[in-house]
Amino acid sequence: MRELLPTMERWRAEQKPIVLATVVKLYGSAPLPLGAKMAVSAAGEMAGSVSGGCVEGAVVQEALALLQQGGSKLLTYGITDELATTVGLACGGTIEVWLELWEEAPR
């Protein structure tokens, strides 16, 4: 979290709402530890990581959707064998990611 703060502070100064994604559960082998974080700005910029690159693209899409709806969401990402194109973790583990509107649009 500490390493994300300077970037989040800059987005805030630019009046961009922020969504924060946090790894809240790991099953099996996972690339990053519990509590790993990624912040996403309303402009689609990202800082930090929840999976070392495996599912970040999908999380950004979910984050941008959350900016419209508000609130929070619990997402699960695992290995997918049905569709090779679906996002999954290369290491074969599963992670749960908590997504929340961290900083609302300034009023």
């Binding site: 979290m1 390493e3 946090t22 809240v24 509590g35 609130g71 908590w98």
Partner: protein, 247 residues
């Protein structure tokens, strides 16, 4: 101030803090900020849930890492995440030498707070160490004694000069510092051990010193030596996290 801002400020100030979040059920999204002294801010939206969680405050802060838990509740189990944030590890580098400059770079990337200490003002210049969190141009042993070295402190001596390194090592050995490393050959270290023993430090104390310093990666250039030191520190930190009660 919002709960999120309070959480961020605490992390920025290097304070121990935790943010608990309800992940499932009717109270989903409710958050409670926890402090080690038992005070809280925010709400989990359910008194039962909140009391159960607060009862475990001490355990969360003792564990020093995030926790996922399932809390029993009359309306069905509730999933919670407690994001425990700890102050950064501190790396004290004695000797504002070339290797120290590279070591600061690596340590910063890894999230350490870096403090460079050297009484020689020709070495300890802001031009060379502008990237360090703190640069202190004073006697290292004095500085280390004042800084309150604790279990999250690491100390590295790099001056090549016994009159700086030895007192600094003595100060580190008299603290619970997590990692203590000293640059120098086997021969230098034997002489150092004798000097420190004469200063009243025991064999058990002296065994805490990592010397020759660093993992053996065949390092020669200062940047490579810094890398081997950093790798050794990370190995010690990770081992300590696995067995928090000690080796």
């Amino acid at each position: 101030m919002s709960l999120h801002r309070q959480f961020e400020d605490a992390i920025r100030l290097g304070r121990l803090v935790a943010l608990a979040t309800v992940l499932t059920g009717p109270q989903m999204g409710h958050q409670l900020l926890l402090w080690p002294d038992g005070t809280t801010a925010g709400s989990l939206g359910d008194p039962l849930l909140e009391t159960a969680l607060q009862a475990r405050t001490e355990e969360f802060f003792a564990g020093r890492k995030p926790v996922r838990l399932t809390q029993t509740h009359p309306a069905g189990p509730v999933e919670l995440f407690v994001d425990v944030q700890t102050p950064p590890l501190r790396l004290f580098i004695v000797g504002a030498v070339h290797t120290a400059a590279a070591l600061v770079t690596y340590a910063k990337v890894l999230g350490f707070q870096t403090i460079v200490v050297d009484a020689r003002t020709a070495f300890a210049t802001p031009e060379r160490f502008g990237h360090a969190d703190q640069l202190i141009a004073r006697w290292p042993a004095e500085v280390l004694a004042e800084q309150g070295l604790d279990e999250s402190s690491c100390v590295v001596t790099l001056t090549h000069d016994e009159k700086f390194d030895n007192p600094a090592l003595a100060a580190a050995l008299r603290s619970p510092a997590l990692y203590i490393g000293a640059l120098g050959s086997q021969k230098t270290h034997a002489r150092r051990r004798a000097a420190l023993a004469a200063d009243g430090l025991t064999d058990t104390d002296l065994q805490r010193i990592h010397a020759p310093i660093g993992l053996r990666i065949g390092a020669r250039r200062p940047e490579e030596i810094a890398l081997s030191i950093m790798a050794e520190i990370i190995a010690v930190v990770n081992r300590a996290e696995k067995s928090p009660t000690g080796s």
